[in-house]
Structure formats: structure tokens, C-alpha cells
């Protein structure tokens, strides 16, 4: 335990502190609450920046580590740290939270204070889950994410919000309780094997687990993460949750919460059970490809904008899984990069839809058409974000998707070919949607008087587009941060798989 400035703890608990202060602000003054939330999230973002600039890219070790015993008798510790794989996701979280607060500025009029409290608690939980290096600590943050998100959907959501909120909660909980049992099994297995009972992730990486047991444990972890990702066929909660959630809720759900699932695979499921992961890869890859194509086809058929974007998330998250389970450098880095991209692009799409919805109170594609004539500024931003979502070269999406496909082809040509069809379908549904909403004649009279975006909305979209282009054109500054960690990650994975394979049948 070093006595230096505990940067990560500050980043994790600062939002929580803000939420506590918010609780004591007067209810009668909602604008004070939202100003406080905005200032606080901006401070949080600024505080989190040293993570990026002080990050040492030469080492694959965990950085900014804090390790304090919490319950030493049981081997539970408050152990946090980031490496190249998680650091950028933390920054994505702090960035998107600011965007979310801005995006909720006018749309949230009811129970304003509670709304921002939920958001700040959610931020703490998300960052905590990304930094936790102790399985119990991780699980606590992981489950804590459910409560504020449940409230965000249920209180401030659309007409079917109650159904969506409960479905979201129960789906995620089923997966995570089984993961909890798997964590315990792993704990006792490692304890019996090594004599030291601990939930420390890095100790548990060294466990030698017989292959049958590995399958079961991997299955439990994978189910939990797959529900969160969400992978086909456990994705059904996502369209409902996305459609009913308020705009900012959708942004944070798509931007960060879904990434928890893919991050969980990277940090926990794969390195803890490498051999099982390798053997289960064909199944996961198949489901990922099904998700890509199924999600895309569903998108084509949607009449509701938000539902369309929700299904496009299923498709995009399929790419990420495809990359991660290709087990090569391109796939892994592409997958992680795509996690960030998806947060920016899909978050951006939800923001645009939210802006349109606030003006027209409908999300049906059929109600629009020709909006670009009345909202030219919005049209420009919308177009850029749409293009980034379909991975046009020059935008962030291209870099990620290209790497993933490269990785997929190197791993298995047939998966690569199938996934590429998803790219084509992606262009079809996104561009067709854009055309139906923005181009053509204005057919509905209500659309003639729509106001273009105001300064606040422009700020949000400029920030999003800035990152779209930055990550598309200068992707190197981000890859530099994750290269060492990713290489080390894959090398450890290979070593472990080979070690188990050469150990002979009795060790499996």
C-alpha cells in the first residue's frame, strides 16, 4: 500500500460523493441539481485525464494499483488497477457521463435530483467494475450497476418502461448469480490447490483447473457476460431496455454497460479459463456471427428508430465478440477499439434520435422524411455519426471493424466471410434509415416547423464528432496505449493453453 495520491479511488468514488451532496440539495430547485451534476461530472472527467497522460505504455503491468486488505481472513481485498485494456474504457465512461448529463438537460423534468443521483451512482459502479482486480469487489460493482440503471429505465423511461426495467434486471441477475457461484468454486479450487484462499484475480490466473471443471466455470461466467453483451440468443432484453430508456440511459447503456460484458470476457472469462475459452470459441464465434447477421436483418425491418439502433448494437457487439475470440492481435485490439467506437457512435446515434424525439415525440421512421431541409445542422452531424457506425474509412468505426475482420479472417476464413456480409447489411439498414428520415420531401406537416439544434445540442454533437474523427484519423495515439498490454495478454494466453495441452490427459 503506497501513500501516494490514490487516483483510481478518487475516480471511482468522486461521483458517489457528488451523489451524496446532491441528496442534500433542495428538491425545489431542480436547475441547481443539474448544474451540480454537470459541474461534478466535468470535474470527474478532468480528474480522470491523468489516467491517459500518465499512463506508462511500456509495461503490461497493472498501473495506478491500490491494494488494501478488506477482509484478509477470506482473501478479499480492495484491489484496483488499470492496464491498456481497461484504461480507455474508464475514460469513455467519464466522457459519456458528461455527455449524458448534457443530453438530459431539458428532457428530464420530473424527479430531477433523483435522476442525477442515479447517474452518479451508476458512474461509480461502472468505473469500479472496470478497475476491480478482486473478484468479490468486481461482483459488488457489477451488481451495483443494476440498481441505478433499473431506476433510470423504470422511472424516466417510455410507456413500457416497467416491463423493460424488470426484464433488464432479472435477465442480468440470472447470469450474475451463477457467475457468483462460479467465483466461489474457483476460489475453493485455487485455495485447495495452492493453500492460499484469495479472490485476487492475478493469483487465480495461475489456477490449474481440470478441463471439465473449466467448462462449467467458463459457462457460468460466459452466460453472465453474454447476457450483458448481449449475445444472441440472450439479447431479447436489450431492444426493450433501449427503446424504453430515456435518451441518456440508452447512451450509457449502449456506451458502457454493454461493454461490461465484452470487458468481462477479456478480463475474466478468457484468462481465467483459457483452455475452455479456446475450445468454446467455435460456439461463441458462431453465436457472434449469428448475432451480426440477425441483428442486421432485424434492423432492416424496424420501424422505430431507437429499436433499430438497439438491434444495430446486437450486430456491432457481435463484431466485438468475433474479434475477441479470434485470439490474435488484430482481433483483440480491434475488439477493444470497437468497444470504444461503439460507445461513441451508437451513443451519438441515440443522442440524435433523442433530439429528434424531443421535438416530435415520436420515433417512428414513417413519421419523418425530409428533415434535412429544416434541420441542416443536425443532418450533418447525423450523417457523420451514421457513417461512422457503418465504418466508413476515416471514421473510428472503420479502424475497429477492419481490424476485427482481419483477425477473423486470420483465424477462420468462413467466419470472416460471414461477418463481412454483416458490413454490407449494416450499410443497407443505416443508409436506408438515414434516407427515409432525413432526405426526400417533407411529407408530414408537423415536421415543417422543427427547430434546428441549439447550442447545447451542438456542443454535444461536436464532442461526439470530434472523437469520431480523432479515433478514425489518429487511432495510433489510442493503440499505443493498448499495444503492450494486448501483446502480453495474448502471449500469456498462448503459454497457458500450450502448457495445459502438453501437460497430458491426466492434467486435463
Amino acid at each position: 500500500m503506497n501513500m501516494t495520491y490514490p487516483l483510481l479511488s478518487v475516480i471511482i468514488f468522486l461521483p458517489l460523493a457528488g451523489a451524496v451532496v446532491l441528496m442534500f440539495l433542495p428538491r425545489s430547485n431542480p436547475s441547481l441539481a443539474k448544474k451540480w451534476a454537470l459541474v461534478w461530472t466535468i470535474i470527474e472527467f478532468i480528474v480522470s485525464l491523468p489516467l491517459f497522460f500518465n499512463f506508462n505504455e511500456q509495461t503490461a503491468q497493472m498501473q495506478f494499483v491500490e491494494n488494501v486488505p478488506w477482509f484478509p481472513e477470506l482473501g478479499i481485498s480492495y484491489n484496483i488497477g488499470v492496464d491498456g485494456l481497461s484504461m480507455l474504457l474508464v475514460l469513455l465512461t467519464t466522457f459519456l457521463t458528461v455527455i449524458c448529463v448534457l443530453a438530459s438537460w431539458e428532457s428530464i423534468k420530473d424527479k430531477v435530483k433523483e435522476y442525477y443521483i442515479s447517474f452518479l451512482v451508476l458512474e461509480t459502479a461502472m468505473i469500479g467494475a472496470l478497475c476491480a482486480l478482486d473478484l468479490v469487489l468486481f461482483y459488488i460493482f457489477w451488481e451495483l450497476m443494476l440498481v441505478p440503471m433499473y431506476l433510470l429505465i423504470g422511472v424516466w423511461g417510455g410507456p413500457r418502461r416497467i416491463y423493460a426495467a424488470i426484464k433488464f434486471f432479472l435477465f442480468t441477475m440470472v447470469g450474475s448469480v451463477l457467475m457468483l457461484l462460479a467465483i466461489m468454486v474457483l476460489y475453493f479450487h485455487y485455495g485447495a490447490e495452492s493453500g492460499s484462499y484469495t479472490f485476487n484475480l492475478f493469483d487465480l490466473y495461475n489456477a490449474n483447473i481440470p478441463i471439465v471443471k473449466q467448462y462449467w466455470l467458463f459457462a457460468a461466467f460466459a452466460l453472465s457476460f453474454a447476457i450483458k453483451v448481449p449475445m444472441f440468443p440472450v439479447h431479447t432484453w436489450l431492444p426493450d431496455a433501449h427503446t424504453e430508456a430515456p435518451t441518456a440511459g440508452s447512451v450509457i447503456l449502449a456506451g458502457v454497460l454493454l461493454k461490461m460484458g465484452t470487458y468481462g470476457f477479456v478480463r475474466f472469462a478468457i484468462p481465467l479459463f483459457p483452455q475452455a475459452a479456446l475450445r468454446a470459441a467455435p460456439i461463441i464465434l458462431t453465436l457472434a456471427v449469428i448475432g451480426i447477421i440477425y441483428g442486421a436483418i432485424m434492423c432492416i425491418m424496424q420501424s422505430d428508430l431507437k429499436r433499430l439502433i438497439a438491434y444495430s448494437s446486437v450486430s456491432h457487439l457481435g463484431y466485438i465478440m468475433l474479434g475477441l475470440f479470434s485470439f490474435n492481435m488484430q482481433g483483440l485490439e480491434g475488439g477493444i477499439y470497437q468497444m470504444l467506437n461503439h460507445g461513441i457512435s451508437t451513443g451519438g446515434l441515440f443522442l440524435v434520435v433523442g433530439m429528434i424525439y424531443e421535438r416530435r415525440h415520436t420515433r417512428m421512421i414513417a413519421d419523418f422524411g425530409g428533415l434535412s431541409t429544416v434541420m441542416p445542422k443536425l443532418a450533418v452531424f447525423f450523417l457523420i455519426i451514421t457513417l461512422s457506425s457503418i465504418a466508413l474509412p476515416g471514421t473510428n468505426g472503420f479502424v475497429g471493424e477492419f481490424l476485427i475482420l482481419l483477425g477473423a479472417f486470420r483465424n477462420n476464413v468462413s467466419f470472416g466471410v460471414l461477418a463481412t456480409t454483416g458490413v454490407v447489411l449494416g450499410a443497407v439498414y443505416m443508409l436506408w434509415m438515414f434516407q427515409r428520415v432525413m432526405y426526400g420531401e417533407i411529407t408530414k406537416d408537423e415536421n415543417r416547423a422543427l427547430k434546428d439544434i441549439n447550442k447545447r445540442e451542438a456542443t454535444i454533437l461536436v464532442l461526439i464528432v470530434f472523437f469520431v474523427l480523432l479515433m478514425g484519423l489518429y487511432s495510433q495515439i489510442f493503440f499505443k496505449k493498448m499495444d503492450t498490454s494486448a501483446a502480453d495478454y495474448l502471449q500469456k494466453f498462448q503459454t497457458k493453453v500450450e502448457m495445459l495441452q502438453t501437460a497430458g490427459p491426466e492434467a486435463r
Partner: protein, 485 residues
């Protein structure tokens, strides 16, 4: 045979004596103060008694000896449960101040019986002899039979009292019969001597002995409201005064589990293989039935009754696993469970009114808008009951499941966690009403009072503290369960 004069060491009994004395004083003063302006102080008196007793209970820590010819024993296990009973008593008294006033409950009898009931619990958990245990159990039970029926003129309350009494008497008979059969085979009613017998007798275990053990489990199953001996629970919990429901759901359950644990893990542990399967079935049935039935309840009080059945099921997991070194998890769970359940019932009390208890779930609609603080604390208790981290309920479940996994009871653990998902649904349903729905009828502001505010504040603090910093209390629980080593 020489008749031994038991050693008279009353110093170890100060908590029990304090409670008994205060009970009698309360009863007497209630006659004197019936009309005067001193009536409100009748509640303060037992509160003082409980606090004093709790203070002296802390002094018993690490005391270790047998009293009265081994009829009674002082050990950390008993001390822990005594402290839990007293803490529950304090919280219930705090809740009762306004409540007994509102519902016109006869004050003197109410508090005196509460104290006598607690005295029964304290005896129940510290006896080393089946007969002392039986006396404690009866003392507790009879007090509560009466307490259930104290809502004058309320038919449901009378029904609850009668139902509990009739079924309770039945269960008591089972228990007593079980004790008799065990005495018939082993020739002793000393719990530790039974253990010696079982250890030495190996496979001499006879059908009579088996029947006795089974009857004991039935008797305790009734008191802890385990399926299939739970039939009385929903009606009694619903009909009884809400403060008493809270008391029954926590105090009675904790004390009964304490005695159950002591009997099983001391007397019958060598015969572990004989009862683990019985408890396995009991645990699964209790969790599953409790949770599934709770799903359909539209009355929050009744829902909490079923939820308390389900929680008994989780505790039974740890009993079925039968790992004596880990029995501390049961103690910890009971502590956690008591705080969150009392907290939830406290909210039920303050939502209610004279003549309109407002226990229907629709009364909770829009509570977040009308009274955000009450809604928030209720949400904390419900999320804790559902086992959401970092609240105490999660830690409780976590340790129970750790027990099961460690001993290799994977299926029991899986059934347990899936049950907790089912449970999450009905707890969330109340949260949903509080936060997502608009009020249909105006039921006014909560009936807040200083007492209930203090009780709720203590419970909220405990739910957070036990969840985030579980170590201190788990170590205390661990030391308490050292007697089984």
C-alpha cells in the same frame, strides 16, 4: 443418589434478571398509570430495561461456564443470540411507541409480554438441557400467542392468535415427544451428553432415536416457519399487530434457529449423515415455496411473511451443509436479516393508519413522490433483502453460499441463487410501485415518530455497515460459533 445443590451464581444471569424485573415492574406500573399522564413512559421503561440488559450481555462475552447443574450454559454462542434478541427487542419497542397508541393496544401487557417473550428467547438459546430449552421455548411462544391477538376488535388479529396458539401447541407437542423419545434411547436430556451417546453409539442408532430426531426437526421447523410446517405463517403474520409481526419474523426466528443450531451441531452432529438430507429437502422446499408464493402477493405485509419463509430456507442451506466451522454464517445471516426485516416492517407501520393499515401494494404507489426519504429507505431494505451488493443482504447470502460451495453442495447453491432471482422480482415489484407508478388514492404522509425514525435509522446504518464492512461482525459471529469446535 446424592442430591447436588446447584451452584448459585446469579451474576451470570444479570441480563435475564433485568428483563424479568423490568417486565414485572412494567406490568405493575401499568395498573397505577392507567389513566394518568405517565402512560407514555410505560414504553420508555422496557426500553431502559432492554438497553441495560444489552449492556450486561456484552459483559458476558468470553464467559464460558455451565450453571445450575449444566441446565444452563453461558457461552459466546448464547451471548451472541441474547444480544441479537435484545437488539431486536429495542428496535421493536422503538417502533411500538406510536403504534400501540395508534392501534389502542393495551400498553402494559404489550410491553410486559414483549419482555417476557425476549426472556424466553434468552433462555432458549442458552440452555444446555432439553427441558430448559423447552421452558424457554414455551415462555417465548405463549407470550407471542397473546401478543398476536392484542389488536382489540380486529378479527384477523384474533384469528392469528388462535391459529398460532393451536398450531403452536401442536408443534410443541411434537417437540416434547421428540425430546421424550430421545430421552428414552439415550437416557439423558443433557444436550452434550446426547452427543457423547451418539458418538459412541455409531450404528446403534435406533428407530426410536430417529423418530425423536425427526420430531425435534418438525418442532423447530414449525418455530422457524420452514416448509412444510409454515402453514400458519402468512395468516398469523398478516393478522398480528405489525410490530409483533416484525418481532416474530426476526426475534422468534433468530432464537429458534439459535436453539436448532445448538441442538443439531452439538447433540446430533456425529449423526450428520442422518439429517443432512432431511434438511436439504427442507431448505429447498422452504426457499422455493416461500419465494414462489410471495410472487403472487398483493399485500406487502403478507409478501414479507412469505419472504421471511424464503429467508429461513437460505439459512437452512447452511444447516443442511452442516459444516460446524462455518456455522458463523448462520449467525451473521440472522443478524443481517433481522435488521433489514425490521426496517421493512417499520416502513409498513408508518405507512399505515388506524383502521386502514394500508398494507396493499397499491398504497405504495407514488411513495417516492410523496415522501422520498421513506421510499428510499424502503428501497434500501428491499434491495438488501433481494441480495444486491453492497448491502448487508448480499454479504449474508454470499457467506451462506460459500458454505454450500465449500462443502460441495453445488445443487443446493444453484437452487439458492436461482431462488434469489425469483425473490428479486417481488421485492422489485414494491420498488416499482414506489418509484414508477403514480398514486391512485391519497393516503397522506407517513405517520412518522421519533421512535420509528430512530429504529429505521439504526437499521439503515446496519444494512450498509454490515454490507460494506462485514469483517468485525463476521469475526464476532465466528468467535460465537467456536463452541462447536
Amino acid at each position: 443418589m446424592v442430591v447436588m445443590i446447584p451452584e448459585m451464581n446469579f451474576g451470570w444471569l444479570i441480563p435475564e434478571i433485568t428483563i424479568a424485573v423490568f417486565a414485572v415492574i412494567t406490568l405493575l406500573l401499568s395498573l397505577l398509570w392507567k389513566k394518568g399522564g405517565l402512560k407514555p413512559f410505560l414504553g420508555v421503561l422496557p426500553l431502559i430495561g432492554a438497553v441495560v440488559a444489552l449492556y450486561y450481555t456484552f459483559h458476558l462475552w468470553n464467559g464460558n461456564l455451565d450453571l445450575f447443574n449444566r441446565l444452563y450454559t453461558i457461552d459466546n454462542f448464547g451471548t451472541f443470540f441474547k444480544a441479537v434478541s435484545l437488539i431486536i427487542l429495542i428496535l421493536v419497542i422503538l417502533l411500538s411507541f406510536r403504534y400501540v397508541d395508534r392501534e389502542d393496544i393495551v400498553v402494559g401487557e404489550y410491553y410486559a409480554l414483549l419482555l417476557f417473550g425476549t426472556l424466553g428467547m434468552m433462555i432458549l438459546v442458552s440452555s444446555n438441557n432439553f427441558i430448559t430449552m423447552f421452558i424457554g421455548l414455551e415462555m417465548m411462544s405463549i407470550s407471542i400467542y397473546i401478543l398476536c391477538g392484542l389488536l382489540a376488535g380486529n378479527l384477523k388479529s384474533v384469528e392469528a392468535s388462535l391459529k398460532y396458539f393451536l398450531l403452536g401447541a401442536f408443534a410443541t407437542a411434537f417437540l416434547l415427544y421428540g425430546i421424550a423419545l430421545i430421552y428414552a434411547t439415550t437416557g439423558t436430556i443433557d444436550i452434550r451428553e446426547v452427543a457423547t451417546y451418539v458418538k459412541g453409539g455409531g450404528f446403534l442408532v435406533t428407530p426410536t432415536f430417529m423418530a425423536g430426531l425427526a420430531l425435534l426437526i418438525v418442532g423447530f421447523g414449525f418455530k422457524t416457519a420452514s416448509v412444510p410446517f409454515h402453514m400458519w405463517t402468512p395468516d398469523v403474520y398478516e393478522g398480528a399487530p405489525t410490530s409483533i409481526t416484525a418481532y416474530m419474523a426476526t426475534g422468534v426466528k433468530a432464537a429458534a434457529f439459535g436453539a436448532f443450531l445448538r441442538v443439531l451441531f452439538t447433540a446430533f452432529h456425529p449423526f450428520f449423515s442422518g439429517w443432512t438430507i432431511m434438511l436439504w429437502i427442507l431448505a429447498v422446499a422452504t426457499m422455493t415455496l416461500g419465494n414462489i408464493t410471495a410472487l403472487k402477493q398483493d399485500d406487502v405485509k403478507r409478501m414479507l411473511a412469505y419472504s421471511s419463509i424464503a429467508h429461513a430456507g437460505y439459512i437452512l442451506i447452511a444447516l443442511a451443509v452442516g459444516d460446524r466451522t462455518l456455522s458463523s454464517t448462520v449467525l451473521y445471516y440472522l443478524l443481517v436479516y433481522s435488521f433489514m426485516t425490521i426496517g421493512a416492517f417499520a416502513v409498513v407501520i408508518i405507512i399505515g393508519r388506524k383502521d386502514s393499515p394500508n398494507t396493499g401494494i397499491e398504497s405504495y404507489a407514488g411513495l417516492a413522490g410523496r415522501h422520498p426519504v421513506v421510499a428510499a429507505v424502503m428501497a434500501v431494505f428491499l434491495f438488501s433483502l433481494a441480495g444486491v451488493p453492497p448491502l448487508a443482504g448480499f454479504m449474508g447470502k454470499f457467506y451462506i453460499l460459500t458454505d454450500a460451495i465449500r462443502a460441495g453442495y453445488y445443487w443446493l447453491a444453484i437452487i439458492g441463487v436461482l431462488n434469489s432471482v425469483v425473490a428479486a422480482y417481488y421485492y422489485l415489484r414494491v420498488v416499482m410501485y414506489m418509484y414508477f407508478k403514480e398514486a391512485q388514492t391519497d393516503i397522506g404522509l407517513p405517520d412518522f415518530s421519533v421512535g420509528s425514525a430512530v429504529a429505521i435509522a439504526i437499521s439503515v446504518w446496519a444494512v450498509f455497515h454490515l454490507g460494506i464492512f462485514p469483517r468485525t461482525f463476521l469475526m464476532i459471529a465466528y468467535k460465537s460459533s467456536q463452541i462447536f469446535m
